[in-house]
Amino acid sequence: MILNVDNISVNYGAINALRDISFTLNEGEIVALIGANGAGKSTSLNTVSGLLRPTTGKVEYLGSDITTVTPQAIVNLGIIQVPEGRKIFAKMSVWENLEMGAYTVKDRKVIQERYEMVYQKFPRLKERRNQPGGTLSGGEQQMLAIARGLMAGPKVLLLDEPSMGLSPILVEQIFDIIQEINKTGTSILLVEQNALMALAIADRGYVLDTGRIVLQGDADDLLHNPTVINAYLGGETTD
């Protein structure tokens, strides 16, 4: 177990966004978190990243408690989040955005290698490396966000809706890339609205509803669970 989220509750003022939820991520796994809008998926990721503090419960990384660790220290531990809505540094160029992704990396050579790696994965970014991030198209920004996450060389990657706003063909590529990253040993916690695809590549999945985990289990089982099919897959299945 690389990540263990144990019984956390999170509030925004008076709103309870998460109520006593627990989930785990094992070494080398892809785990999908799915659920309707406002279910608390992003809140979960932000809590793991240290941006939010749970009122109860704890978050463990490789067995040690990181509940009260600062976000930057968590990044240093290797837990990287690609946030919802891209959050590109609008006035920095593509190149500088990537450089920020590698903020915690000291070794210039490693950074150089990672550049090559992400440019090879997203050639469009290489073309646009001097364009300010804010003027990229929506999909280009999404690529940049993922690439920026990769620059840090994550051990655990938290992806928040990586396929949002991508063209169908790019969605395919992104999911390919996620699998590739996973193969190189990165554990991935994937939040997706595209539940079908997410569960297709995931090992396990959790279904969130208004701040609670209502279903969990093997990804394939979830894909065939009638509740999931009706509520989150729009009635669509793969068989």
Partner: protein, 269 residues
């Protein structure tokens, strides 16, 4: 029904060296649902910005109900009956939902500030009627219960719907929707699709849609144009587009369910 509500004639938009939109022509029939699709960075949003007056096209003109829009400010264009939503949600996030919709009504109201101070009969009547309408629009998008919630605190999907309600406030005859279902799950997407359709069916609002979800696009569009690198590479009815080689190659790929199958096979093997 056959007249063209909007004509885009040879519009180009250039950023530095990059031609984001290149000589695009569109003729959009009144009362239709018209989709614009294309790869990321194809220039769809830029085209929207040219139509709605955010950008001044470098070449070409946009005719709305026969009136050239070039160089008009966005508020003038909005009062002519052209509304839009945004790819990255832009609500008045510190105001309540109902206030957002009330602001959307601005172009139809005639109350002046003097009347506001004096609260003349007309202004009171107008205030009331705009409030009634706003509540109805909120009802329509299913956000009645959130009327007095702060817009910024609403869940993402609700915010998208609220943007539509706000856009409808001005009784537009043309509505531009930029990826209305982004970030929604399939179930919510279905609801949104129904909502878009009823806008056209019930109120005869012409809709131009940018969307990456092919279920939506193929399901409700009357007509589709495909942009790639700023150029229109194809147009036609959904069936035609679905089978257009070039479009499949540049944009569509194998399609969602097929893809999922592919991955599952990979995983099993």
């Amino acid at each position: 029904m056959t007249s063209n509500i909007i004509q885009v004639q040879g519009v180009s938009k250039i950023f530095g060296g990059l031609t984001a939109v290149n000589n695009v022509n569109l003729d959009i029939a009144e009362g239709s649902i018209y989709s614009i699709i294309g790869p990321n960075g194809a220039g769809k949003t830029t085209l929207f910005n040219c139509i709605s007056g955010f950008y001044i096209p470098d070449h070409g003109t946009v005719l709305f109900q026969g009136l050239a829009l070039n160089g008009r400010s966005t508020d003038t264009i909005a009062s002519l009956g052209l509304s839009r939503t945004y790819q990255n949600i832009r609500l008045f996030s510190n105001l309540t939902a109902i206030e957002n919709v009330l602001v959307g009504q601005q172009p139809r109201l005639k109350e002046t500030w003097v009347e506001s101070i004096l609260q003349t009969r007309r202004s009171r009547k107008e205030e009331k009627s705009s409030l009634v309408e706003s509540f109805k629009w909120l009802d329509f998008v299913g956000l009645r219960e959130f009327a007095n919630s702060i817009a910024g605190d609403l869940p993402y999907g609700a915010q998208r719907k609220l943007e539509i309600a706000r856009a409808l406030g001005s009784k537009p005859s043309l509505l531009l929707l930029d990826e209305p279902t982004a970030g929604m799950n399939p179930q919510e997407t279905l609801e949104m699709t129904a909502l878009i359709r009823s806008l056209r069916d019930k109120f005869n609002i012409t809709i131009i849609l940018i969307e990456h979800d092919m279920h939506v696009v193929m399901g409700i569009s009357d007509y589709i144009s495909v942009l790639d690198f700023g150029n229109k590479i194809a147009e036609g009815k959904p069936e035609e587009i679905q089978h257009n080689e070039r479009v499949i190659e540049a944009y569509l790929g194998p399609g969602g369910a097929a893809l999922a199958q592919k991955y599952r096979k990979k995983k099993v093997s």
